[in-house]
């Protein structure tokens, strides 16, 4: 099918984009999720605000040890970045599972976050990395949201219609951190049924984030606590999966967490 008619603006600055956003306007980043919705006419915005011409939204840099990702940064940029591979390998591990190369060439990090698909990989990895999300509006300026407060429900975030996600801030992982991202999908590049992102650093630091274990990315605090007190990968994985009602999902999630923890431990 073809999209229903819409008005189209392509601002070249964040300020101009904020001026154009509102109740009936939708920001267009990479379009790899929004354009299918437009084609199906599941989304019928009055106006599309195309962000692709906003150079100040596309950057990836390390400053004072923190990774700052402009919302318009393409997924392929994460995949190829030496800075990411060295400092935040979990993001590189996760992004390789995002659809296919042709999708990652267009798809953006900010788009994955703001779309909030419960099967999306990057929000899960960012949740494991304690990322913070900077959003801006013309009326209220900038505010910063933690992952736990950003993702509310499938395809729903705490972003207001007049707000734009501008930057994702990823704190430096603890010294000696090792990570892994494991998921199960029916074919490579398909939407994942379940998955796990883990970060370990010595005994003290353990982050376990789950994909497909709820309507949003979730952390597994009980499993993290157990890991910090010496639990094995298998023991912590059983705790991470224990809360899931569905037998298949519980078995799958438990197994994926175990594999991710063992992969991270093997380094």
């Amino acid at each position: 099918m073809k999209p229903a008619p819409f008005g189209y603006v392509a601002p070249s600055t964040i300020a101009a984009a904020l001026g154009a956003l509102g109740e009936d306007a939708k920001p267009l980043a990479g379009g790899q999720s929004l354009v299918p919705l437009l084609n199906f006419r599941l989304a019928r915005p009055e106006t599309l605000v195309d962000l692709n011409g906003i150079a100040e939204l596309a950057y990836l840099r390390r400053s004072d040890g923190t990774l700052r990702i402009g919302a318009l940064t393409r997924q392929v940029t994460i995949e190829r970045s030496a800075v990411v591979a060295e400092g935040w390998p979990l993001l590189a591990q996760a992004v390789r599972h995002v659809a296919h190369p042709a999708i990652r060439n267009r798809g953006t990090v900010g788009g994955s976050v703001a779309h909030a698909d419960p099967a999306a990989e990057l929000p899960v990895a960012l949740t494991a990395l304690d990322a913070r999300f900077h959003v801006r509006s013309a009326a209220r300026g900038t505010r910063t949201i933690a992952a736990a407060d950003l993702f509310l429900a499938p395809l729903m975030t705490a972003l207001e219609p007049d707000e734009l996600l501008v930057e994702i801030e990823v704190p430096p992982p603890p010294a000696g951190a090792r990570s892994a991202f494991v998921e199960h999908a029916r074919t490579h590049g398909d939407f994942a049924v379940a998955g796990a992102a883990v970060v370990r650093a010595g005994r003290e630091h353990a982050a376990v984030a789950l994909l497909g274990a709820g309507p949003t990315p979730v952390r597994a605090p009980d499993a993290e606590h157990a890991l910090r007190h010496g639990a094995s990968a298998a023991e912590a994985a059983a705790i991470a999966g224990a809360g899931l009602d569905d037998d298949y999902r519980r078995a799958l999630t438990t197994e994926l967490v175990r594999r991710a923890l063992e992969e991270a431990q093997a380094g």
Binding site: M1, P3, Q32, A99, P101, I103, N105, H188
Partner: protein, 158 residues
């Protein structure tokens, strides 16, 4: 609105609506019907073209977003009317197509893969092509064709 896109090295001007998809601009405005539209929601890969040298789904881009940029379609792949691109020749030799509907997308995806990774493993080829669906061949011929071109391009293999 009127836009101009370079397609296969030639400027192409046309009047469009904002909602016009790049795939429809290529097929209806430029008249290049080698780019096929399968699912129109980014799943099948048939409409894959290259935008400034990188593969994209032309059904997931608005034509207006390609304004002033350079698009390569299957019609621009061969060096001339009489010759085939090495990938096209290999697809022919390996029976890598039957109905041919998916072929343009596969060719442009494989071309980009071999430029980035001239000597891919079979696994890498399969992974790179995983976003393109073929309902005829079972993929064996396609994978063999791409591996064949990669091997032929290697100086240590005669």
């Amino acid at each position: 609105m009127i836009i101009e896109i370079e397609i296969n090295g030639e400027p192409c001007r046309g009047e469009i609506e904002p909602r016009t998809l790049l795939s429809d601009f290529i097929r209806h405005t430029a008249g290049l019907t080698g780019t096929h539209v399968g699912c129109e929601h980014g799943v099948c890969g048939a409409c894959t073209v290259q935008l400034d040298g990188e593969t994209v789904r032309s059904c997931l881009m608005l034509a207006v977003q390609a304004k002033g940029r350079s698009v390569l379609t299957v019609e621009g792949l061969a060096p001339g009317d009489a010759a085939l691109h090495p990938l096209q020749r290999a697809f022919h030799e390996h029976h890598a197509l039957q109905c041919g509907f998916c072929t343009p997308g596969f060719l442009l995806t494989a071309e980009a893969l071999l430029r980035e990774r001239p000597d891919p493993s079979e696994r890498e080829v399969r992974e790179a092509l995983a976003g393109n669906l073929c309902r005829c061949t079972g993929y064996e011929g396609i994978v063999n064709a791409v591996l064949d071109v990669a091997r032929a391009g290697r100086p240590d293999v005669a």
